[in-house]
Structures are given as structure tokens and as C-alpha cells.
């Protein structure tokens, strides 16, 4: 059965390489993956701002887009939380309630899916250098992610940078841009002082918020896990 990729709105508009990398990896690993057409937004920004009606519109659009697919893999923990927790709660008394529950059950983190379906042993990953992982606040479980990272040949894992939020927070970034940027300060500082050659994260929001700040600070580059894996997966599979 074809697996649907959820393409976060931030990624579609500003970082298409995230979805492209997932598709590319999927083809190389022999997975039947597809990014369904018609995707716009899961509704999280409207939900967080309190605009329930608008968030419900987005939830319904999300249900329509993913109707008929088995699993839905999401590369972004915040979108995943929206689909798993908030959409069923938003639509619980609507005609779409069953569909929303089904969406929640079918939605899974892309990395979790990869580790479960393919298994880390059969993934040949190689990277020369020191990698640091930045854990987004919305990331629920990072077991499979850490398993994956520890399976990369020649790479060393830096100690965790910081547990602190990067400050993006969807709404905060446009309501109070200065505040949002200031919150990133300590995170960027920790990344600059780390000896990592590369920082990996999973949430597209954190990635887009941090990247320009890291560049200005002369800190290591940051990549989405999917982009990193697509570059790192060795050819001889």
C-alpha cells in the first residue's frame, strides 16, 4: 500500500528539499512513497493562535488529502502532533470525527517509520565527522532517531546541545520577532560552542528559524534529518 508523505507548509514553501529527500530515500530503499497533491497546511499555526474555525478548515483539507492512504509519514514533529492530537480534538463532535481519529492512528513520524520498516542494520550510512542533534520541543519520542544516528559509520555524536526551545513557536515569530530571536540566542550560542561539524534536527520550523541565525554567528550548518540521510546513504544498497 502506498505511503503518504505529509509535506509541512514551511517545507513546501521554503525547504522543498525535505520532501524531495524523503522521496529520494524512499525510492532507493524500495518504499512505495508519494507526497499527495493538494497539501497546504495541517492547521497548527491557526490552532496555536486560537483561530479554531480556520484550524478546522485546515484539518478537513488534511483529512481529504490523506483519505485512502495507509500510513502517513510526517517529517516534522509539530505537524505530527497536530495530526495525532489536535485534529481529533478539534473535530470530535463533527461529522469528520471518525476520519480524524483514523488520521491520528495512521500518522507516524517519518524516522520511526523508517527504523521500523527498514531497520537500522540494513541502512548503510556514513559520515566523517561529529554530529549534534537538536531536539525540537514537539518531538515526543526520539528513540528511533538516536538509534539511527548511532548507526552512522565514522560519525561521532556530540553530547546533546540544549533542551531549550529555539523560540520559533509559529505565532511568536510573527507577533514578537525580536523576542523569538532573543530566545534563540542561548541555543545558537550552545551550537556555536559545540564541536559539531553538523547539526541535525527534525522540525522544519526550528530549522528555518535557526539557520540564518547560525550563519550569522558562524556556527555549524544545520540540516533536516531527511536531507542529511539522503546525502549520507551510501550507494551500494
Amino acid at each position: 500500500m502506498t505511503i503518504a508523505i505529509q509535506a509541512p507548509c514551511w517545507a513546501q514553501s521554503f525547504r522543498p528539499s525535505v520532501t524531495e529527500s524523503i522521496l529520494d530515500l524512499g525510492h532507493r530503499l524500495g518504499l512505495d512513497l508519494l507526497a499527495p497533491k493538494g497539501q497546504t497546511c495541517c492547521g497548527l499555526p491557526a490552532w496555536e493562535a486560537g483561530h479554531t474555525d480556520a484550524a478546522m478548515d485546515a484539518a478537513r483539507q488534511t483529512l481529504r488529502v490523506f483519505d485512502g492512504f495507509g500510513a502517513i509519514v510526517s517529517p516534522s514533529p509539530s505537524c505530527l502532533r497536530m495530526m495525532r492530537e489536535h485534529i481529533p480534538a478539534l473535530l470530535y463532535d463533527q461529522p469528520e470525527a471518525d476520519g480524524a481519529r483514523s488520521l491520528a492512528e495512521r500518522s507516524v513520524g517519518w524516522c520511526d517509520y523508517l527504523v521500523q520498516e527498514i531497520g537500522v542494520e540494513s541502512l548503510r550510512l556514513r559520515f566523517e565527522g561529529n554530529i549534534a542533534f537538536y531536539r525540537p520541543c514537539q518531538q515526543e519520542d526520539d528513540k528511533s532517531l538516536r538509534l539511527l544516528l548511532s548507526n552512522i559509520q565514522s560519525a561521532t555524536l556530540a553530547p546533546d546541545l540544549t533542551e531549550q526551545c529555539c523560540g520559533f513557536g509559529n505565532n511568536l515569530a510573527w507577533r514578537h520577532p525580536e523576542l523569538s530571536k532573543a530566545i534563540a540566542g542561548p541555543v545558537v550560542g550552545a551550537m556555536r560552542l559545540s564541536r559539531a561539524d553538523l547539526i541535525i534536527t527534525t522540525d522544519v520550523g526550528c530549522l528555518l528559524h535557526l539557520e540564518p541565525l547560525l550563519q550569522v554567528a558562524g556556527a555549524p550548518p544545520i540540516l533536516h534529518l531527511a536531507e542529511f540521510l539522503a546525502q549520507t546513504l551510501t550507494a551500494e544498497l
Binding site: G50, D57, C165, L172, H176, P177, E178, P212
Partner: protein, 417 residues
């Protein structure tokens, strides 16, 4: 909106240190999650039957010889305090460090009525000395540099300049003790009062509460109604939880319990007044935010909040409460206008929920505010953005193009080069 650079650094450092020692203190607890939910229940059970527990408390305290009065508002609480002071013919009083006393703006009321009110908490005294504002509920002067304190002490007390915190602390304590010995009246905001026994409790780490209670002839004690505790077992749990979360210690350095006046003895007040203050707490319950009244003001949510650490207490519009809990209760406690701003001071990082020792789902309560208010208070710019967004939801190509354009015009993300 942002606090100054020094304050931001100081609050980050403080938050980090206290969170770490608090995590250590909680790590010593067996079955932490079960204890947290038990502590949360200790608070919730009184909120569920608040009138009953308050009646029990009133009966128990009156039976112990305490004079009890009720104040529905801040103005009435202050009026009762001033009337008591006038009936005692007192012109001087000392107060402790308590958020409730700041909430009702006791200092202003005292000044307006010619009462000389001194704050006995060293942190509060430092704020007065340096003429600065509170930055953290438990550590009020955390943002001040030792050099700033020394400079103020040099100007006002002709003290030699020093960077030794012990010397400055003793200088402050010596002055406060002089006031303490000369004073006869204490006004204290309580942490808890036990319905079963009528015992009234203050917690602190520097000993200003026991000093006040030991030396005062008259004690005026204030309790915000939700801080009533069912029985001694619950009190024990709450005191421990407070110490772990506020100070990162297994127990507070000082637990002051006061039950009854002691007319014959040398120590302790001859007269005790208890004022039970509602000041819109019933509205918090009625509006469906009752869970927030579990709060014991330990500051744990402040210590994990990335927004608070950048704006400090002052970023919450001079409200008496700050941090995530402040953003939930201030709009109902003070004025609805605050809801337009404070519940949006959040990155949705969800850190405050698990940090709370009394199990308040702070992220959910902030979200509840935003959902109730967004449609009412959104600016016309926000409204049109949402309308456009809804229109674009079913038009993917246009959606992506519009998003990119908004990104280039820096409407949706703070892009900078």
C-alpha cells in the same frame, strides 16, 4: 518587551541553576509521577469543595482564638488591614515576601494611610534599596549585579564599596533586624492554612517569617482563599513539593506554623487576625480556569519558560504574577485587556506542563485563553491574514506562492541577514 541584557543573562543562569537543583531534589523522590499527581490532588480536592473547606477553616481558626474576616476584593482587604492597624493605634508595620500582598498593592494602601510599612525579606529590601523592580517571584532581586547593590548601599548607607555578597547581606540584615526589634505589628501573606487544624503556614529560606511571628504582638495574616489545605497530611506533601520546586531542597529552611494567639507568653502575637481574600478567584473557577488555582507560586514554570527568561516579571505588564501561570490568571484576576497579550507570550514548547509540581496543564490553559479570545481580539490585519489563509487552504499552488511571498516580505518569519 525584552528585558535588558544583564537581566536576561541573570534569569537564564538562575533558571538553569534552580531547575537543575529542583530536578535533583525531585529525583530523590520514589515514584515521582505518583507523588506529583497526589500533590495535585491535594490542591484539586479543596478547589472542588472550596466553600466547605473555607467554612471548616473559619471554624477551626475561630475556635483557636483567631479573629477572621472576609475580603472579596483587594480594596476591601486593604481597608480591613488599615482598620485593624488604626484600632491598634499603630503607625509602623513589617511585612513578609508574599505574592498576595503585592497583588492587593498593600504598600500603596499603607502609604496612603500614613503607615510606615517595611519589607522584611532581604531580596525585597534590595529592590527598595536599588529602586528596582521584581524579576522573579521566588528570587525577587536575582537580576541585580552585586556592584549595583554595593553602589546603592554606598550612596544611602555610606558603606564602603564591596563585591562580597556576605558583607552586603549582613549589612542589609543588621538594618532589617533593627526595624524588627522596634516593631510590634506584622502583616503576613500565608502560603497555606489547614482547614482541619486551623494552623496557618509560611515558608521561607532566610528566616524572616519566624522572626516576624516571634517578635510581633499583633499579627495580621492574609490567605488567598484557594490556598486552604484539607489536612496535615496534605500540608506535609505541599510543603515538600514547594521546597523541591522553588528552592531545589528537600524541605524549606523555615516552616512557620501559627495556630493561636498567646496572650500570656513572651513569644508570639497576642492577637491574630486572619483575612480570607477572594479578589476574583471565584471568577477564575467560574470561567473554567479553576485548575490554575492549584498554583502554589513556586516559580517552577518560570524556571523552564524560554519567554519569561527573556522578558522577566516586568514583561507581564506590571502584573503581580508572571511566567506561564501569570499569563493564565492575570487576564481574569486583573483586567480582561491583558488577555490580548499575555496568553500569546508562549512558544508552545510545552515545558511548563511537566515542570509544575501540582500538575497544572499550563499549555492547555494558555491555549484555552487563545481559543476563547482569538476571534474577539484579533487585529484587522490578523483577521484578513486568516481569511486569506482559509481561502488558500484548498488552492495548493497559490498557497505556496503566497507563503513564499509573505516570507520574502518578512511577514511570517523573522528572516534576517
Amino acid at each position: 518587551m525584552l528585558a535588558d541584557n544583564h537581566t536576561r543573562l541573570a534569569l537564564q543562569r538562575l533558571s538553569h541553576t534552580v531547575s537543575r537543583s529542583s530536578a535533583q531534589a525531585w529525583a530523590g523522590v520514589q515514584d515521582q509521577e505518583a507523588v506529583r499527581s497526589r500533590v495535585g490532588w491535594a490542591r484539586q480536592r479543596v478547589l472542588d469543595q472550596l466553600p466547605m473547606y473555607l467554612e471548616r477553616l473559619e471554624n477551626a481558626t475561630e475556635a483557636n482564638g483567631v479573629q477572621v474576616q472576609w475580603a472579596d476584593s483587594a480594596q476591601n482587604a486593604n481597608r480591613i488591614i488599615i482598620e485593624i492597624l488604626q484600632s491598634l493605634d499603630v503607625k509602623e508595620a513589617l511585612r513578609n515576601h508574599a505574592p498576595l500582598l503585592d497583588e492587593i498593592a498593600l504598600d500603596k494602601a499603607a502609604e496612603a494611610n500614613g503607615i510606615d510599612l517595611t519589607r522584611l525579606h532581604p531580596g525585597d529590601r534590595i529592590l527598595e534599596l536599588t529602586n528596582s523592580q521584581i524579576s522573579h517571584p521566588v528570587w525577587p532581586a536575582a537580576h541585580l549585579r552585586i556592584e549595583d547593590i554595593s553602589e546603592a548601599a554606598r550612596e544611602q548607607w555610606s558603606m564602603p564599596t564591596t563585591v562580597d555578597p556576605d558583607i552586603l547581606a549582613s549589612a542589609i540584615r543588621v538594618r532589617l533586624r533593627r526595624r524588627l526589634i522596634g516593631s510590634r505589628t506584622a502583616i503576613l501573606g500565608l502560603n497555606f492554612a489547614v482547614a482541619e487544624t486551623g494552623s496557618m503556614v509560611c515558608l521561607d529560606n532566610d528566616g524572616h517569617n519566624p522572626s516576624l511571628i516571634a517578635l510581633a504582638r499583633n499579627a495580621i495574616l492574609l490567605l488567598s482563599v484557594e490556598q486552604v489545605v484539607a489536612d496535615s497530611e496534605d500540608l506535609h506533601l505541599l510543603v515538600e513539593a514547594y521546597a523541591r520546586s522553588a528552592w531545589g531542597r528537600p524541605l524549606p529552611a523555615y516552616v512557620t506554623q501559627l495556630c493561636s494567639p498567646s496572650p500570656q507568653k513572651i513569644d508570639g502575637p497576642r492577637q491574630i487576625h486572619l483575612i480570607l481574600v477572594d479578589n476574583r478567584r471565584s471568577r477564575i473557577l467560574d470561567r473554567g480556569y479553576g485548575e490554575a488555582l492549584r498554583c502554589i507560586h513556586c516559580g517552577a514554570c518560570h524556571n523552564v519558560c524560554p519567554v519569561y527568561q527573556q522578558i522577566g516579571s516586568q514583561g507581564y505588564d506590571d502584573s503581580p504574577y508572571s511566567g506561564p501561570i501569570g499569563a493564565v490568571i492575570n487576564p481574569i484576576l486583573l483586567r480582561p485587556g491583558l488577555a490580548e497579550h499575555q496568553p500569546f507570550l508562549s512558544t508552545n514548547c510545552l515545558a511548563c506542563g511537566p515542570a509544575c509540581p501540582v500538575d497544572i496543564d499550563l499549555p492547555a490553559l494558555l491555549q484555552q485563553h487563545r481559543q476563547e479570545l482569538a476571534s474577539k481580539i484579533a487585529s484587522s490585519r490578523e483577521r484578513s491574514a486568516i481569511r486569506l489563509w482559509r481561502y488558500l487552504l484548498r488552492r495548493p499552488t497559490l498557497f505556496v506562492n503566497a507563503f513564499r511571498r509573505a516570507g520574502r516580505r518578512r511577514v511570517i518569519m523573522p528572516r534576517r541577514k
